[in-house]
């Protein structure tokens, strides 16, 4: 098992509407390797293709160029084998199902028996601290709680990779920080590798082992910033090394613009 990366992207490109005059090159020349258990954030301005990149890994889009492997398999096979769990900005819970039944949904689709589903859902509910809300309907929960249900659902199949597309994007700042703390704990507890798409620099720094900085038109990786923080706690956010890392990512994000300014 050792040595096989969780995700390996090589020379990946994606063009929407290839061949048409309206063709848009969303991504070009992406090389990226994510190790098992590693937490990697994708950050960049709107239109830099970070969500598209995640969707390629999830096999929700097909690459126009390059190769993608997930745990040594094709992205397609990895999807069929349920090697990853996924969460979006919209929690996407089914409103007619209880919280528990929402978490059981992927297990139900894959034919897991009722008692096993029940047991796994209880485990996950405890893990995200929502055991008391198992019988509630999603619209009775706050946005943060809904997102916790979505994360529990993503973890239902015990994936070794978690793909998250701005899952905390719609939450208020306080809830967001609390959710980040929970995610750090969950990823450590499950040993999942995580690819996390975000707009927020502090969020990316707080969560990640590495922050992948992307630039738009066409979407490409402009820098990869390794983050060496001690164990994450609430104090981490006030640590000088945290600020230093935030500054490093911010400068990496500005870099392409600075080049542009120098040219003019």
């Amino acid at each position: 098992m050792t040595g096989v990366p969780a995700v390996a992207l090589s020379a990946v490109g994606k063009t929407f509407g290839a061949g048409k005059p309206s063709a848009v090159t969303a991504l070009t020349g992406i090389d990226l390797t994510v190790a098992p258990g590693e937490f990697v954030s994708l950050i960049g301005p709107s239109g830099c293709g970070k969500s598209t990149l995640m969707r390629l890994v999830a096999d929700l889009e097909q690459p126009s160029a390059g190769t993608i492997s997930v745990f040594g398999k094709t992205a397609h096979q990895a999807r069929l084998d349920q090697d990853y769990g996924i969460a979006f900005q919209a929690a996407g819970l089914l409103p007619w199902r209880t919280v528990r039944a929402n978490i059981e949904l992927p297990l139900e689709v894959h034919g897991v028996s009722r008692p096993q589903r029940r047991a796994r859902a209880e485990e996950l509910l405890a893990m995200v601290g929502l055991s008391d809300f198992a019988g509630h309907r999603p619209d009775q929960l706050s946005g943060g709680m809904q997102q916790r249900v979505a994360i529990a659902r993503a973890l239902a199949e015990r994936p070794r990779l978690l793909l998250m597309d701005e899952p905390f994007g719609a939450l208020d700042e306080m809830t967001r920080e609390r959710m980040q703390g929970e995610l750090v704990r969950l990823s450590a507890q499950t040993g999942c590798a995580v690819i996390f798409v975000t707009h927020s620099i502090p969020e990316a720094v707080y969560l990640s082992n590495r922050v992948v900085v992307m630039s738009p038109r066409p979407g490409q990786i402009s820098a990869i910033v390794p983050i060496a923080l001690p164990e994450r706690t609430e104090d981490t956010r006030e640590d000088p090394t945290f600020f230093a890392a935030v500054t490093a990512v911010r400068e990496a994000l500005r870099a392409p613009q600075r080049v542009g300014l120098e040219l003019t």
Partner: protein, 288 residues
Amino acid sequence: MKSLRSLAAGIGAFALLLVLWEAYKLLGSPDGFSVHDVRLLPRADDDSMPHVWQIVKRFSEPEISAAGSSSVLVAVIKAAWFSFRVSVAGWIGGVIVGVLLAVLMQRFRTAQDALLPYIVVSQTVPLVAIAPVVVGWGGNLAVFGQPWQPWMSVAVISGYLAFFPVAVGTLRGLNSPQAAQLGLMHSYAASWWQTLIRLRLPASVGYLIPALRLGAAASVIGTIVAEISTGTRGGIGRLIIEYAQSATGDPARPWTAIVGAAGLGLVVASLVSLLDVGLGRFNPAGAR
């Protein structure tokens, strides 16, 4: 509480209708109101608009003057019961066809492009035009060895009207899940069938309930019109025509059949509302 209030509102509206009827009789001209021979307001005389109590009284009187004739009330209820059963048969057939068409159109984009225009056009064909065609076809058919019954033609026409709102509403509902929910099902490697059963169908219920209600109203109208245009005996549509022929000598009687038809519509609509209760779980927004 909410259902009590809407019941009270319904009764109030009915009472208001009776008051308006009588008020118009009191204030309106017996010859109506005409501009250049175009009558804008109906005659208010007793032959055109019998008093409410005359209509009510007529229900309790014998249908015809012959000895042993049952009361009008019995005749109207019998006819309404006949039409009710035909409507329900037409509605069920229409719902099945409508849902199947919607599923087919959701599954195959080509089917949607090919079928949807014809589904819309189908509703512009006048009922009176298709009635003889259906009767003609039916005459050559046998269902499970049984010869075609006249009521079956009526049910087919009723279903022909009922399927349309169901097909269109269900199609919208099947296409209503959010992109994140569809992406999620795709990421689970869920089959089209699993996605239909676990996501698209439950998501369509909020659209299906109003469509079922529209379909029920359409099936009742279809039944009454089809009874008249196919000349099928036994239903409320036929009764309206029969009683209307005696309007000159017995002005209250045609109104009893019309009241019966309205009552039939109300009963069918309330029965469909019961589906709300059963399916409420899938309809958190309470779409109506």
